[in-house]
């Protein structure tokens, strides 16, 4: 079976990562970056940290105002247009996106315009390399910035050249999400990682997926250990949330890399379609549908997934023939635990989330068209099993 795997981004993560930014830009041949930030980063004054990191580097940088949230809005078009002129006039040579989706999308659109000309923003394909692009994530939605896709003025664009060249994760830039969001992002990354580890034929994808599962499982364990509300002591809660957030940003960055591969992530496609209707958040839906997704296709790696969901000793104690079942049980157990800790507020099945089979069937064409899932029978079986939580064989 043929597979391909491409992750065009270099990842730098950890304490004082930002201090390496000037060096990394220089290695890419850049010396005058323009920083595109989102509103949250702007309001938090995060560019001060960037200026500190650049002090003494001999580089100068330009800093934008906050990027509009909606990439299809008139304001976003104006924003990119004005930065395009500024970029050309002042001789910038690289882009740094600071924040989340809005900053990343604006930076990607601007990069197309400055590298290939504004007319390229309406083209279907991007073959040529663009100017160096660095992404500095601040939130656990970092996967939106590390993919190879973007959207501008109602026009979706996808190309490996749209991936950032460098992703730098520095704890000093984190804008800690609230605990509910942390929980859902942990579930999102966990589900995507589990699916790819179990079903991808590509060893490099499985290696990234294994890392994602371990990071997300660690964050989830911390979230569940202290109850969904977290420690009562506010300082302790803030410290713990910051640590979990930092772990999840790494998992989220890597999840974005895997979202950029050719094979669709079925749990993500279903999650986005179903969660988009607002009855439960994305990660919760993904973990609910995940067992059915994993059981829908033969997998030689499903048993090994149990290793990453448990511990080496727990994994090794289970006979190889039972490890696939143990992996699926471990995933189901997450939804059971959340149901219990939330006193029934977090659903275990799509039925408990208020969905019926008819309502799910009405989404099928959307899911197929949007995510390239071409096997309608399997899709129906997955949705039916996720509706009531029954295993595939029953």
């Amino acid at each position: 079976m043929l597979f391909s795997f491409l992750c065009p981004a270099k990842t730098c993560a950890g304490v004082n990562a930002l201090d390496h930014l000037a060096f990394e830009l220089d290695a890419m041949g850049a010396s005058k970056p323009m920083v595109i930030q989102d509103k949250a980063s702007h309001d938090a004054g995060l560019t001060k940290k960037l200026k500190q990191a650049f002090s003494g580097s001999g580089m100068t940088m330009g800093i934008s105002g906050p990027a509009p949230e909606d990439p299809d809005s008139q304001a976003a078009a104006m924003f990119v247009r004005s930065l395009y002129d500024c970029f050309q006039e002042k001789g910038y040579d690289a882009l740094v996106a600071l924040g989340g989706k809005a900053a990343a999308q604006a930076a990607k659109a601007l990069n197309i315009a400055v590298s290939l000309g504004p007319e390229a923003l309406t083209s279907k394909e991007i073959f040529q390399p663009l100017a160096p692009l660095v992404f500095l994530p601040t939130g656990t939605d970092a996967y939106d910035g590390t993919t190879r896709v973007t959207q501008f003025n109602g026009h979706p664009l996808s190309s490996p050249h749209l991936s950032p060249d460098l992703v730098m994760i520095d704890p000093r830039l984190m804008l800690t999400d609230d605990r509910n969001l942390l929980l859902d992002r942990a579930l999102t990354c966990l589900a995507a990682g589990c699916e790819i580890f179990a079903l991808s034929p590509a060893p490099p994808a499985r290696a990234y997926a294994a890392t994602i599962v371990c990071l997300a499982r660690s964050a989830l364990a911390s979230l569940l250990a202290s109850g969904l509300k977290g420690p009562d002591n506010l300082k302790a809660a803030a410290r713990e949330n910051a640590r979990i957030h930092n772990t999840l940003v790494q998992a989220s960055v890597m999840t974005g890399y895997l979202m950029s591969q050719d094979a669709p992530i079925v749990s993500l496609a279903l999650g986005r379609a179903i969660a988009g209707r607002g009855r439960a958040p994305l990660g919760q839906i993904m973990v609910i549908v995940l067992p059915a997704v994993l059981e829908s296709r033969p997998s030689t790696a499903l048993g090994d997934l149990y290793l990453h969901l448990s511990t080496p000793d727990a994994f090794a104690s289970v006979p190889a023939s039972q490890q696939p079942l143990a992996a699926v049980y471990e995933i189901r157990n997450i939804t059971h635990t959340l149901f219990s800790l939330s006193h029934g507020l977090l659903p275990r099945t799509l039925g408990e989330a208020g969905w019926s089979m008819d309502a799910l069937e009405s989404l099928r064409d959307d899911i197929k068209n949007a995510f390239g899932l071409t096997d309608p029978k399997t899709l129906t079986r997955i949705m039916a099993r996720a509706l009531d939580g029954r295993p595939m064989g029953n």
Binding site: L2, S4, H20, A202, P204, T211, L215
Partner: protein
């Protein structure tokens, strides 16, 4: 999971693998807008018919203005300059490198010259001298061991000035690595075992040494598992295409792991044995790997213990008490070497003194060991070793590996 305070991870190479992966080359180059690749290879690869397989897989969708097959094993700046001239003269706009480390390093050197429109390779030595993307380069590895298709360095000799030039840059990473089992199908069993154990050493050292991180660990574990599962079956059945593909993928995964986490004393000693005694690199790695782990056991026992799971599998891991897992992992590698020795009709040696040259004489003499230890001390890989090393330490390890007896752990200076 080992989480360092700070880590970096990078592999920008598009990895394309499968039984007919070579057929993807035209579309990969078309996506870059280029259609006139030069093929670089060596006489051995061409003589084995591998270049023909590549050109047939490409078909007539591309124009191949030049196939240059005279790259020597220890390539040189003169070769690079000559090939850059051919590239320009024939109007090429991309490079396909088919072969092992020397071919790929040469291809990287040629790519520097033609992309930078330069004629002096020296201007680009060291780290970070390249500041922009080079011309498209596609790597087709033929050995399933070195991992050079995913490394960002090139070493090119300058024999006239008796020096080796090192180049390091993300821009030296090939655009794509094509992993096709046809490229390793004709490797004889003992070379299959040596190259796979080269990859095993990359993965094990990357997992156990100082610069590891979660992503390099995950790549290393995938590589180890693939080698564990497929090496002996491929030696028993060289036509096992699925196994060949798995081993080639393992080599690439191990290459990614070590190029991000670095290697240590096993490679320092291995480079030295290879250069002084002209022993194939993979053979050195297979023999020296358990000794390197033994030497560092007191520093990284937990990491070595973790490796028992991918090496020996879950049943052995569960049956082995926690305190014994590290030594069991080392013993597993020794036992694996012994199995490979049997499976290859004793052509896979298990100690340095058993390495025999084509003339039937031993390649590594006991009298070579002091020089081997001295040379290893100057190897950059020593820097990444968990335990400090001096000449006496390296000599002690080399002597044990020569005899084929475990290290006397009481003699290791524990810093």
């Amino acid at each position: 999971m080992h989480m360092p305070a700070y880590y970096e991870f990078c592999c920008k190479v598009n990895i394309v693998a499968g039984p007919d992966a070579l057929s993807q080359i035209p579309s990969l180059l078309a996506a870059k807008g280029v259609f006139r690749p030069m093929i670089l290879t060596d006489k051995g690869v061409a003589g084995a018919g591998l270049t023909d397989i590549v050109t047939q897989a490409i078909g007539d969708t591309l124009t191949i203005p030049a196939v240059e097959d005279d790259i020597p094993p220890d390539s040189d700046v003169r070769v690079v300059n000559r090939l850059a001239g051919v590239y320009r003269e024939k109007g090429c706009n991309a490079i396909i490198a088919v072969g092992g480390g020397s071919v790929l390093d040469t291809a990287k050197g040629v790519n520097i010259l033609v992309s930078e429109n330069a004629d002096d390779l020296m201007a680009f030595t060291g780290a970070g001298a390249l500041k922009r993307p080079l011309r498209p380069l596609i790597a087709v590895p033929t050995t399933a061991g070195t991992g050079s298709e995913v490394t960002l360095v090139a070493v090119i000799a300058d024999h006239d000035n008796s020096r080796k030039m090192l180049f390091s840059s993300d821009f030296l990473l090939p655009d794509a690595a094509i992993i096709d089992p046809r490229m390793t199908a004709t490797l004889p069993p003992h070379i299959t075992s040596a190259t796979a154990m080269d990859a095993m050493a990359h993965a094990v050292e990357a997992y156990t040494m100082l610069a590891k991180n979660p992503l390099s660990d995950a790549h290393a574990v995938e590589a180890i598992t693939l080698i564990r599962d497929h090496l002996l079956p491929v030696i028993a059945d060289p036509g096992n295409t699925r196994g060949r593909l798995a081993l080639a993928c393992a080599a690439t995964m191990a290459g990614i792991a070590f190029s991000n986490a670095m290697v240590a004393m096993v490679h320092a000693l291995g480079h030295s044995v290879g250069s002084i005694c002209h022993v194939p690199h993979g053979t050195c790695m297979a023999i020296l790997l358990p000794y390197g782990l033994e030497y560092n056991l007191h520093k990284v026992e937990d990491r070595i213990a973790h490796l028992l799971l991918p090496l020996a599998g879950p049943d052995v891991f569960a049956r082995t008490p926690e305190k014994d897992r590290a030594s069991a992992a080392i013993e597993w590698i020794r036992a694996f070497n012994r199995k490979l020795n049997q499976a290859t009709d004793k052509k896979h040696p298990t100690c340095l003194k058993d390495i025999i040259g084509q003339d039937g004489s031993p390649r590594v003499l006991r009298s070579d060991l002091p020089r081997i230890a001295r040379t290893a001390l100057g190897d950059g890989a020593v820097f990444y070793n968990p335990e400090d090393l001096d000449y006496q330490d390296l000599l002690m390890v080399a002597e044990a590996a020569w005899e084929g007896i475990p290290l006397d752990l009481s003699k290791i200076k524990k810093g």
